[in-house]
Amino acid sequence: MAGLYLHIPFCKQACHYCDFHFSTLLQQREAVLAALVQELELQQGYLAGEQLSSVYFGGGTPSLLTEKELDALFTAIHKNFSVHPQAEITLEANPDDLDLYTLNVLHESPVNRLSIGIQSFREEDLKLMNRAHAVEQARDCLRLAKEVGFEKLTADLIYAMPNMSDADWVQNLDALLQYDLPHFSAYALTVEAKTALHKFVKDGKVQPASDADQKRQFDLLIDMAVSRGYEHYEISNFAKPGQRAVHNSSYWKSEPYLGIGPSAHSFNGHSRQWNVSNNTKYVQALSRGELPATVEQLSIFDQLNEQLLTGLRTSEGVNLARLEQRFGPELVAQLRAGLLDLKDDWYQLRHDQLVLTRSGKHFADLIASDLFILADDEH
């Protein structure tokens, strides 16, 4: 099974924390969408004929797409790929776009899952992050989405924001849990380089949360979600049983995926490639029939390390016996030796299944890094 990602690189306005590729200039919209169609054509062989178990429209803001535009993309997808009848087809949407009309259009389309960027139910947070919607819109769209018949819904929340107390966070989370969604994601606010937020922090205008704040709010999150029947199946993702995200899970399971659109990444097991993060360059290259991508071949070490860094984020962890089959006993023996240097209460190893504990999850990056095997390791 394989996944298909389409990057829709437009936004009405820039959120202060976002470092994804997007443009608020909409005049290139037509050309970019035409190029997406061309790229789908050009890349039809990338997944070696595998059937798509998921399609994901990310951004940017895919909810800006009109019915006609969405249609054109689906036509191109079906023309070049075989889509499993039960495939998960997700579209990221902002609350301000999700009026009743749009929701109905989307529901009529092949899209069967919405990922809604709620982020917060507090007006001051939305303002600070420069989100385009108001709290009322967030509430309305969740209610309406259910009403028009979307069963698969997920929403994003952000915690450890500046000036967010633990009580604020609990209140926010509680507001979302009211809707009893099958799935949600909650992210600690990360101050990314080259964002407005980064500049505010640097200039001392915004005081970021400390890692102690992040840790406490992360713990609150896990406790509350689990008590409401969610599985904490990835660091930032929570699902009711059977409701895990198919598409995003493919990233963590090292399954192949094809990314279409500027800045989109693709992975086929042994190489990774990414398109240029620039709409104009992207359009120009495709108009010449070229793929504006940088390709990185993944060494056996890279592949193993990536499986560690993504796998250890999940509730399943990684299976050492399976890694052994794939990468050979020598590397995995090194990995097992590396485990001995970790704190005992960070992980569990049962029947070769290596899983991080709650306290280990707080240090998932550090642990992955410590377990990495580098090409020049002499052992």
């Binding site: 102690a212 992360f218 963590w252 990444h265 990774r272 890279d302």
Partner: protein
């Protein structure tokens, strides 16, 4: 002999010495154009990268002028103050020198001190104005500087460009015309001056020499005057692009000798080779044992690599006799070596060579100079490591080495340079305007102060324009104390330093702040303290790390994240655990970069 010309090139780093030398080799057909790697004379990678000739070499060119064949020996000299003794021996082997000055930059301190060396040895100086092709060239002003410095005629200055080859023909003619042929007695007993040596994996040490009197024959038995050791001259010859064996190297000429010597220590620069058959009664004047000026501990990051480090250091010493070391142990770092270096650059070079050529990851501790400590019982001891300083109550007084330092700078930066030198306990001795815009300032200051981030700051405050040279002028009594650093109460001896009492509080504070910056956060709080004896003079805390996991990890994040975590892992491998605290390799040198 009358058709031999021996000369060297005196130039500041970056003034284009190597490029010009390449041109000479090319025009005389010593080297083929297509073999001409940029900067042919520098054959260590490190040298080429740094653009500094670390080890001097020599090369012979054939040149026909007015129908006569001439042998031109170019003896290359290192361009850094750390290697000034090697420069002096190279200069002693020549009759002439090209003074190469960058037409856009003018004369620098290092050039002047080497020029004085050359004049002391009565070398004929040919001033060359290089980089005439550059748009920023300012030949008139630089010519004035040269005339003032040499007292030469303005017409004596030759314009050239190593880059375009302009002026190189005239330069070769003038080398023959102006530089005197060597003098010497072909019938006298052999006296040949060793001015350099290199290590060859298969042949052992190759020593480079200049014959002053007599001649050296292949296969004869020779003696090195100062070491007293005797060898067979297994192979002798001259130096073209490759070594060319000869039966005999005559008076005035430059050549090499291979005699099965395995360690660089036996071949001392400045030593005299003489023949056993008819030995000379005395060596050539000016021999000195090279003394290390700066000391630091070198330790393997991984304690298990101690033996491997020893092997590597032994091998390094084979071709770098100026490196000295002895085993030492540190409570914090375990077993390692206390090493003596000619200067800070030499120290950096050794550390880099250990990493590059021997794949060793090492920790270099805070460097220091050599102190004299006199105890209350009147015993005078040499202290090369702050940890060796006896208990303060038993110390009568401590002496530290002083230097005479020359800084040449643009007039605009005088204030800043003086301020820097004063902050380094310098005393201004003299200030001379070389031209209306260039000043030479002379200071006396403790050598120990230039170890602490002096060069970098001098470059910064003068926007790279100031140049610096020094020589040692003996020891003076100073009020010095040892400052220790503790991490979670555990003293880290490798971070101890000897500092002036008046600066202790300021330095202690800066040191703690710097360490707070450099030490990664760990799973617990880390207390950093600076102390003198039992007294804590500064303190900082690094808060424990509560969390290390990024929120998002999707398709576009994986590659970037993998690289980030790989880097983190590599960084960790270069850390050393002391007590329960992981210390990155670079933190040990933190004290050098406090501003």
């Amino acid at each position: 002999m009358k058709n031999i010309r021996n000369f060297c090139i005196i130039a500041h780093i970056d003034h284009g010495k190597s490029t010009l030398a390449d041109r000479l080799l090319q025009v005389t057909n010593t080297v083929d154009v297509r073999d001409l790697q940029a900067q042919t004379l520098d054959d260590m990678d490190l040298e080429r990268e740094r653009g500094i000739t670390i080890k001097s070499h020599a090369i012979q060119m054939d040149y026909t002028y007015k129908g006569e064949k001439y042998t031109l020996n170019l003896i290359d000299t290192p361009g850094h103050v750390d290697f000034s003794y090697e420069v002096s021996r190279a200069i002693a082997s020549c009759e002439g020198a090209l003074l190469v000055v960058d037409a856009s930059q003018g004369i620098e301190a290092q050039t002047i001190s080497n020029l004085y060396l050359a004049l002391e040895h009565d070398l004929h100086i040919i001033p060359v104005l290089n980089k005439m092709d550059l748009p920023g060239a300012n030949p008139e002003e630089v010519k004035d500087q040269i005339v003032e410095l040499l007292g030469c005629d303005i017409a004596d200055i030759l314009p050239a460009s190593g880059k375009t080859g302009f002026g190189v023909d005239v330069l070769l003619e003038q080398i023959v015309e102006r530089i005197p042929a060597p003098k010497g007695d072909p019938d006298a007993p052999l006296q040949a001056l060793i001015f350099d040596s290199v290590y060859n994996n298969y042949r052992g040490i190759v020593a480079y020499f200049r014959v002053f009197n007599g001649s050296i024959k292949s296969g004869e038995k020779v003696k090195f005057f100062n070491t007293g050791k005797e060898y067979y001259a297994e192979e002798i010859g001259i130096l073209k692009m490759k070594q060319q064996p000869r039966k005999r190297v005559e008076t005035g000429d430059v050549g090499y000798i291979i005699s099965g010597i395995k360690t660089a220590k036996e071949v001392q620069v400045g030593d005299t080779i003489t023949s056993m058959e008819r030995p000379a009664t005395e060596g050539i004047q000016g021999f000195e044992l090279v003394k290390p000026m700066v000391f630091a501990g070198i330790y393997p990051v991984d304690t298990e690599d101690y033996e491997e480090l020893r092997d590597s250091m032994d091998k390094l010493q084979l071709n770098d006799a100026s490196l000295v070391f002895e085993p030492e142990s540190s409570a914090a770092l375990g077993f390692g070596f206390r090493c003596g270096f000619l200067g800070m650059l030499h120290m950096e070079i050794i550390q880099e060579r250990l990493e590059r050529e021997f794949n060793m990851t090492v920790i270099t501790t805070v460097p220091n100079v050599s102190y004299y400590c006199t105890t209350t019982k009147g015993i005078k001891m040499t202290v090369n490591n702050p940890s060796d300083l006896p208990d303060p109550s038993t110390i009568d007084f401590i002496e530290e080495p002083y230097i005479n330092a020359q800084v040449i700078t643009k007039a605009d930066y005088i204030g800043a340079v003086i301020e820097l030198c004063m902050s380094k306990r310098g005393i201004i001795k003299n200030q001379v305007y070389l031209t209306s815009n260039r000043v030479e300032i002379t200071f006396e200051m403790p050598l120990g102060e230039i170890v602490f981030d002096f060069y970098d700051r001098l470059k910064t405050i003068s926007r790279g324009y100031a140049s610096f040279d020094y020589h040692q002028i003996g020891y003076r009594e100073s009020r010095l104390v040892r400052m220790d650093i503790r991490l979670n109460s555990e003293p880290v001896d490798a971070l101890s330093s000897l500092i002036h009492t008046d600066k202790a509080y300021e330095l202690g504070k800066k040191m703690c702040e710097k360490l707070r910056e450099l030490l990664p956060r760990q799973q617990f709080d880390i207390a950093i303290q600076a102390s003198i004896g039992a007294k804590i003079i500064a303190r900082e805390t690094i808060k424990a790390l509560r969390k290390d996991v990024t929120a998002k990890c999707y398709g576009g994040d994986i590659s970037r994240k993998r690289k980030l975590l790989e880097k983190q892992k590599k960084g960790k491998k270069r850390m050393r655990q002391v007590g329960n605290v992981e210390i990155p390799q670079n933190a040990f040198l933190a004290v050098l970069k406090l501003d």
